[in-house]
Amino acid sequence: MNKIVSIVCGLCLLMGCFGNVLAQKKCTVSGTIRDSQTGETLIGAFLRVDQKMQVGVSANEYGFYSLSLPQGKYVLKVSFVGYQEQKMSVDLDSSFELNWKLESKHSLNEVVVSTKRKNDNLTKAVMGTETLNMKDIAKIPVVFGEKDVLKTIQLLPGIKSAGEGNSGFYVRGGAADQNLILLDEAPVYNASHLLGFFSTFNSDAIKDATLIKGNSPAQYGGRLSSVLDVKMKEGNNKELSANGGIGLISSRLSVEGPLKKDQSSFIISGRRTYADLFLKASPDFSENKLYFYDLNAKANYKINNKNRLFFSGYFGRDVLSFGGNMGIDWGNSTGTLRWNNIISSKLFSNTSLIYSNYDYKVKIKSGETDFNINSNIKDWNLKQDFSYYLNPKNSLRYGFNTIYHNVKPSTFTGTVNNNVVKEGRKSLDNALYINNNFKATQAFTVDYGLRFSAFSILGGDTYNIYQKGIKTDSVVLAKNMFGKTYYNIEPRATANYRINEMNSIKLGYARNVQHLHLLSNATSSNPTDQWVSNSYNILPEIADQYSIGFARNFKENKYELGVEVYYKDMQNQVDYKDAADINTAPDVESELLYGKGRAYGLEMIAKKKEGKLTGWISYTISKTERLIEGINNNNWYNAKQDRTHDLSIVGIYQLNPRWSLSGVFVYNTGNAVTFPTGKFYLDGQTVFQYGNRNGNRMPANHRLDFSATYERPKKDRIQSSWNFSLYNVYGRENAYTITFEDVPDDATKTQAKQTSLFRWVPSVTYNFKF
């Protein structure tokens, strides 16, 4: 606690000492930065004073910026990757509003994964942060040719794919549920379609995605490992336009346009897979169903110069059924209503009301009997966030967040069952935060903040207390009663020191706390994995991450090198006990055990950002372990996502203005798994004997993918392109599962059988825009 007190004091001191820096009268220039053709706001566009290279500000997630300067004459410059730089001379004698419209550069030699400014990696006090914009990922090959944010992110250092073709990912040794995935601020509880082969993010509807690997600023909270903040497009406010794509597996279409020219706009984007139609052609599978669809919609309305309203929504559903006997369907729906209010030229406010729902239903039917399982998690979320541009050295973010969770665990109903309807477990998840970005000197920047979270269990259910799986007590909480409240203080800080024009070093520390936990031991994302909230047994998970990094740019920022080392300490980790009954146990908490975890690693990335050939090489060496009483004889064991080596090489080559080629090579150590080491004979058959938990390895994975994109000359208003790709070029049989069995024709032996999924997956996609 003492440590925390001293951090708070330090914060106050730092904030106190900048009040009287300059006595000269200051004026503020503020406004929004947008794309001149579509009117989309440009998140992260950078405005600076030409005479003072280091004085500047980035536009926030609504494109708003504010900069206070002493009275005087200035030349202001605005720049953003992929856009022409703009300059303007201003005579600042009073505060005023200045809106910018940037021209998009039609250059094809774009950077691949862009930081917003050419040397952002050196100057900003951010660590472990990667931003992708949709233009960038379009050319990178993925399985089935469907460009996908989640799969491209997995090619970056420190981020590991949960499995081949899987949209689940692990960040710095964290589990898949330790990633906070936000779509226009709404949490998405299951970001995968078709068991993970597609992600829920339709890239046509998305403006940009940022992933922060554990060192997130204080406005984010609730997950240990990372924040993936995905922002939907706002829609073109100049003219009506449509774009879409036709592929082998799925097609998509988006329409966007002004509601009122230059003022308000909308976008609607839909996608559906139709591969199930081919299933119909095969008599064996004619009664099976397997498809998903999703719909994104967003509209914004400008009330006046100071106020703007946004509404955005997402709805997606997967349907899977076998011959009418068994079916699963699941999906997310989210809705966000936001109000941007420019209170003053220095103070920007955003208020959001967010709804999020994830549910799944399993139906099994045999003759006269029915059997259903369903579960859902529903959130109502209120957020108030203020950005206060105090002075050129300090910009503050502060606010609060209140979430009402209702988590309904899987419930069985049916004709032959006892219909014990489980009540949802309700809880209130509150947080207060403050964060300051402090540009101490030209070379030294600190981003520091504090988040205070309070998670309260709400009444309406009985909570059992277990000691090592044996029930010892229970707490009955009446409706609307408050149960236990967990309080946590989460300090965060990152510092950046720029040694010279080429080199910078970074330091970071962050504590993150997680109140919702996904119970999953599966290797792929399973729609029926259960979310549970804190209870009297399950305590908030806590992670402390320490990291240090070095960045260097070469040849006028054309090349970039980044190295980061991290160590993460995790408390209150949850795992299933050995031989857990995860389906029918009346209270799943009786099947759980708790312990701690640790993860450490080294991440490296080298990028080439300009020229005909662009791309990057990323390499991670890491270790992730857990210690849980009751598992592996109480010794440390490898977490399943522990992989020693992870390498990705991405290259994009612009052959000529029409054709571009790209390739991806990945290599990683296999997941840590438990294989049988021995066998014995019991009750008429072979039974396997196991050694240490996760003491074995799947075989290493590697593969090479290619793609080629042809952009047709623009005809009339139609812009179109063809994308051809080949996944797994050399047909590597990567192990998806390994099973162990008696040799079918020889009862004296046993064998290990490997199943692989994808060898040579070709795909063709036609994309258009008009």
């Binding site: 081919f278 099976n288 397997l290 076998f322 031989a579 396997f688 599962t737 199943t755």
Partner: protein, 263 residues
């Protein structure tokens, strides 16, 4: 879940492929395996002691011949078992009776292993019926064992199925978490391609009523068997009722059988 992979395979115009792989699984520690059963049927009862072997070796399990095996119960019976052959030890006059608790002691090479198991009350297996499921466009027949669940929680069952003399290696273990007090409707579902119940097939079902720790043991084995495609929990040696670090289980259970000729 296997059908799911096939289904995905067809869907995406490629075939998932399978191959036999060689893995280095040599770091095994051989342990004593105890396969001990007491039933409500007339004696003798058998305790079989063997050793486990490495995964890569042949399915030949060395018998343990030099152990002293005794079984007692909570009603004062006691029996020292006699070694016959192949690791098997037989009781002489001890009776298996519902509701009693049995204690097993094994002394071997200076080590002692003990286990305790209670034989539950028998739940009557009333009859067998055939149910038909449509799986991937084909009708498949499965057996439903009919019994009425007693009206209190904590009943556990295991079913063993033999089709035309061939033993079905799946573990069918049921509890009463979901259908306490109701009649059973759950079939013994074997989706293997080479397992087909046809008209004229003879199917024998053995029903065992188990205590909870024996159920947990076989439930855990059933999870390992099916836990390939992203399902199930990380496999581990099934938790058993034996003290002294041995594999296997000591099971006191009731046993009854019914046979049906499929019409």
């Amino acid at each position: 879940m296997k059908s799911l992979i096939t289904c995905l395979a067809v869907l995406f115009f490629f075939s998932s492929c399978e191959k036999i792989v060689d893995l280095d699984l040599s770091n095994n520690i051989d342990k004593l395996v105890i396969d001990a059963n007491i039933t409500n049927q007339p004696p003798p009862y058998e305790v079989r002691l063997t050793k486990s072997v490495r995964f890569s070796e042949k399915n030949e399990y060395p018998p343990v011949k030099n152990a002293v095996v005794t079984i007692t119960d909570n009603a004062g019976q006691s029996d020292t078992l006699t070694y016959t052959s192949d690791g098997k030890y037989l009781t002489k006059n001890l009776q298996g009776i519902e509701g009693r608790t049995y204690f097993l002691t094994i002394k071997m090479d200076g080590k002692t292993y003990t286990a305790e198991s209670t034989m539950p009350k028998k739940v009557e297996l009333d009859s067998l019926t055939i149910s038909v499921f449509k799986i991937n466009g084909e009708d498949k027949k499965f057996i439903i064992p009919n019994y009425v669940e007693p009206n209190y929680l904590g009943n556990y069952y295991r079913f063993l199925q033999t089709l035309d003399g061939k033993f079905d290696k799946n573990y069918y273990v049921f509890n009463d978490n979901l259908n306490n007090g109701k009649s059973n409707q759950r079939p013994l579902q074997n989706n293997d391609d080479d397992f087909e119940i046809k008209s004229g097939s003879t199917v024998t079902i053995e029903m065992r009523c188990l205590s909870s720790n024996v159920y947990n043991y076989f439930f855990s084995l059933s999870q390992q068997a099916g836990g390939a495609f992203g399902s199930g929990t990380a496999p581990a040696n099934s938790p058993n009722n034996i003290t002294g670090d041995a594999l296997g289980i000591f099971s006191a259970h009731t046993k009854q059988s019914k046979t049906i000729i499929v019409p």
